[in-house]
């Protein structure tokens, strides 16, 4: 693995770059931190030639627009360094991190701190997301312009919804002057109550308090109406309920500026996991909860028909001790960075739900567009943020060997088809899976 930027020519791989209409055998010449040329049978021109083992795919760097890096304040769960190490091992060249740290990222000081830690780690790019409200308390607006100037790419009160319709109206109006998205954790709090699982047969059978899908869709409908009123940009985080997907389709049909994301666990798992194979496994406790089959199937349909814009992981690391408690006392959330690519290949591409090009849109092109950040394209002159994927690699997920500081995944031991061969950020190979035979 070479950490220094240099000139190299990726040769002999399939390039999937939907932003530039490319899908085929193209060579990519990287010069320093940028893409120098893309074309067929490019001359080496003094660059080191990297012959690609067969079966690999080169695509614009994947961007996970919804992660929790936990720093500052909860470094026992994750740090910027361990979180970005997990990101690059998972094929992501960039992540956007939520502001529910301690203290909350509601001011330039915290934003700069996160960015400094990211620079020190020097792995994936980190795009902080600032808080909508000071302290995420849902009362006053945070200093949004200052957050933006210091490096935040969006605002969100993630972990909870923007507290009132009035505050949501104001933040959509205010951010419209920067064309910055407001990312919303849709959850009507009184309907959620003290629920811990999707309301339905499985929660009923296990005696767990339920959260109906409508807790999500009601808030989505409120926010879509406000986005229409204000012409602001709304992005709906971790959509889980079929009713919410209908709400998004309604909004899009009306021309509202609304986008949405789905996590791999919401298009792979259902609430049947609450009871089996391991009853009350706290690694299937997340918010929004795993929903029923009809919801899971709706998410797949939305991904297939284009209603879903982005796949994001909601990577939510928690220490093992915090999860080793009674189900209703455990924190919500699972890790996602190091399982996403395998789940996407196995359950979306190989299952025939989407093409590889569409997957690249969901994981790279569209998150870059929503956040308005560089990336999502391997055009000449673009940053050399490249993911090299191995669609047919057999992957067995092993929580213990993950780079994330936390191991709270329900996918431990799963065998899936599709993995990551290498991750290149700004022309530097920050992760290489030697098992693929790739030498960078």
């Amino acid at each position: 693995m070479n950490q220094e930027p240099l000139r190299f020519l990726l040769r002999g791989a399939r390039l999937v770059d939907p932003a530039n209409g490319r899908d085929g055998m193209f060579d990519v010449l990287v010069d320093g931190a940028r893409i120098a040329r893309v074309g067929r049978d490019l001359p080496a021109d003094g660059a080191r030639i990297v012959e690609m083992p067969s079966g690999l795919v080169v695509c614009p760097g994947l961007i996970d627009m919804h992660v929790h890096l936990r720093e500052p304040g909860q470094e026992h769960k994750e740090t910027v360094a361990t979180g970005t190490a997990a990101a690059v091992a998972g094929g992501f060249t960039a992540v956007a991190c939520m502001p529910n740290t301690s203290p909350v990222n509601d001011n330039a000081g915290v934003t700069r701190y996160i960015l400094e830690r990211a620079t020190e780690a020097n792995l994936a790019r980190v795009y902080p997301i600032g808080a909508v409200s000071r302290g995420q308390k849902g009362e006053e607006l945070a200093d949004v312009a200052e957050l933006r100037e210091s490096g935040c790419v969006a605002v969100s009160d993630d972990g909870r919804p923007v507290a009132t319709a009035l505050l949501m109206r104001r933040v959509l109006e205010y951010t419209s002057m920067f064309d910055m998205p407001v990312i919303e954790h849709c959850e009507e709090q009184t309907l959620k109550g003290d629920g811990v699982a999707h309301e339905g047969f499985h929660a009923s059978a296990l005696g767990l308090r339920g959260i109906p899908g409508e807790a999500e869709s009601i808030m989505a409908l409120r926010d879509i109406a406000l986005a229409e009123l204000t012409r602001g940009r709304l992005h709906i985080a971790h959509m889980s309920a079929r009713q919410t997907l209908d709400a998004v389709r309604y909004g899009k049909a009306r021309g509202v500026r609304v986008t949405c994301e789905v996590t791999p666990h919401h298009f792979v798992l259902t609430d049947a996991m609450l009871g089996a194979p391991l009853p009350y496994d706290t690694n299937v406790k997340m918010n929004p909860p795993l929903r029923e089959e009809a919801d899971r199937d709706a998410m797949l349909a939305g991904i297939a028909d284009g209603s879903v814009d982005v796949i994001a992981t909601d990577h939510a690391p928690h220490h093992a001790d915090e999860k080793h408690v009674e189900f209703d006392r455990a924190p919500f959330g699972i890790t996602g960075l190091e399982t996403a690519v395998a789940l996407c290949f196995d359950r979306l591409v190989h299952a025939g739900v989407v093409s590889l090009a569409r997957l690249v849109e969901l994981l790279s092109v569209n998150p870059a567009r929503v956040l308005n950040v560089p990336g999502g394209s391997l055009a000449e002159g673009a940053p050399a943020d490249i993911s090299i994927l191995a669609p047919d690699m057999a992957v067995t997920i092993a929580a213990a060997s993950m780079r994330s500081l936390s191991k709270n995944t329900p996918f431990d031991g799963w065998t899936l088809r599709g993995g990551v061969a290498a991750t290149i950020v700004g022309g530097r190979a920050v992760y290489v899976n030697e098992g693929t035979g790739l030498k960078l």
Binding site: F201, A203, L208, E326
Partner: protein, 306 residues
């Protein structure tokens, strides 16, 4: 039998009948002048109660003592739980003292499953959150069988706060497993979503639900349910769902009325019904000891105590 009794799901039909048959034998011990047998001598049983419970804890304790087990009660107020110890750590500490069985009552659904994954001791669930209370359902089944000589084909109507009730869940699983026709009735705010998938009939019309019933089982309504807007008032609840003599008259003439306790007279059940001729509420309590003796005995390995 499986290692633990966490849920009625852990029992096959045959095992349920084995427990009920063994209960007959255990009851006989309770009728002797010296109500004690040496069956579990040298066995240590920890009663770990995270929730206040008079009836269930006492019942288990008497059952354990009649079988000559060494018993130890840990109640939440006197334990290190107050110092912030996790259930997992408490379990490890108790496990280090090598008890043979742990009987646990806990406010969280699934707490027994967590304990079971940590402990080699056999775990008996004495009520976990809103999930299950398997020995209650077993003692209810024993009581029903004693009066009706069978369970299969009976119409059993369960009325009350279905949503928050672990007794409901265990009873529904057990009774449907044994072939009873189970009806449940309560305000729609207190019906668990998807409950019909258990194979029960759901009706908010209590009169319809009790019509022709062989067994009426009442569940407790907690005072604080008015806070979540589940019910407007206890007065209205009694008017709409309370078991009165008029409603009992809709059931079969030989209906029996059951209640797991503690009961709220004048809320879910009229006093004259609770104390009336069809009431078997105190028999349930008496049978509780015998059923728990049977469960302890069988879980310990029957005759061949391992």
């Amino acid at each position: 039998m499986k290692k633990d009794l966490l849920s009625i799901d852990d029992l096959t039909r045959d095992e349920i009948y084995l427990i009920l048959d063994t209960t007959e034998a255990m009851r006989e011990i309770g009728q002797r002048p010296i109500k004690k047998v040496p069956t579990l001598r040298g066995k240590t049983i920890v009663n770990l109660f995270y929730e206040p419970s008079t009836r269930t804890r006492t019942s288990f304790e008497i059952a354990e003592k009649r079988l000559s087990a060494d018993t130890l009660n840990i109640a939440v107020a006197t334990s290190s739980v107050q110092k912030g110890e996790t259930l997992a750590d408490t379990a490890l500490n108790i496990e280090a003292m090598a008890p043979d069985m742990i009987v646990m009552r806990h406010a969280s659904s699934g707490a027994g499953h967590l304990l079971s994954r940590i402990c080699r001791s056999r775990i008996i669930n004495a009520g976990d959150g809103m999930h299950e209370h398997p020995t209650q359902a077993l003692l209810d089944a024993f009581t029903i069988r004693e009066h009706k000589q069978r369970i299969e084909g009976l119409k059993v109507t369960i009325v009350g706060d279905l949503l928050h009730s672990r007794v409901l869940r265990s009873n529904v699983k057990l009774l449907t497993k044994l072939g009873a026709e189970v009806w449940v009735s309560g305000p729609p705010t207190l019906v668990p979503p998807g409950i019909e998938r258990f194979g029960v009939r759901v009706s908010p019309r209590v009169d319809e639900a009790v019509a022709g019933a062989d067994v009426i089982m009442m569940l407790r309504i907690q005072q604080e349910r008015m806070h979540g807007a589940f019910i407007p008032s206890l007065r209205e609840y009694f008017h709409t769902f309370g078991m009165t003599r008029a409603r009992v008259a809709l059931a079969r003439p030989d209906v029996i009325i059951m209640h797991p306790g503690p009961m709220n007279r004048g809320v879910e059940i009229a006093s004259d019904v609770a104390d009336g001729p069809y009431s078997v509420i105190l028999e349930q309590v008496a049978n509780g000891v015998s059923v728990r003796m049977a469960v302890l005995y069988l879980l310990a390995g029957g005759v061949d105590v391992d």
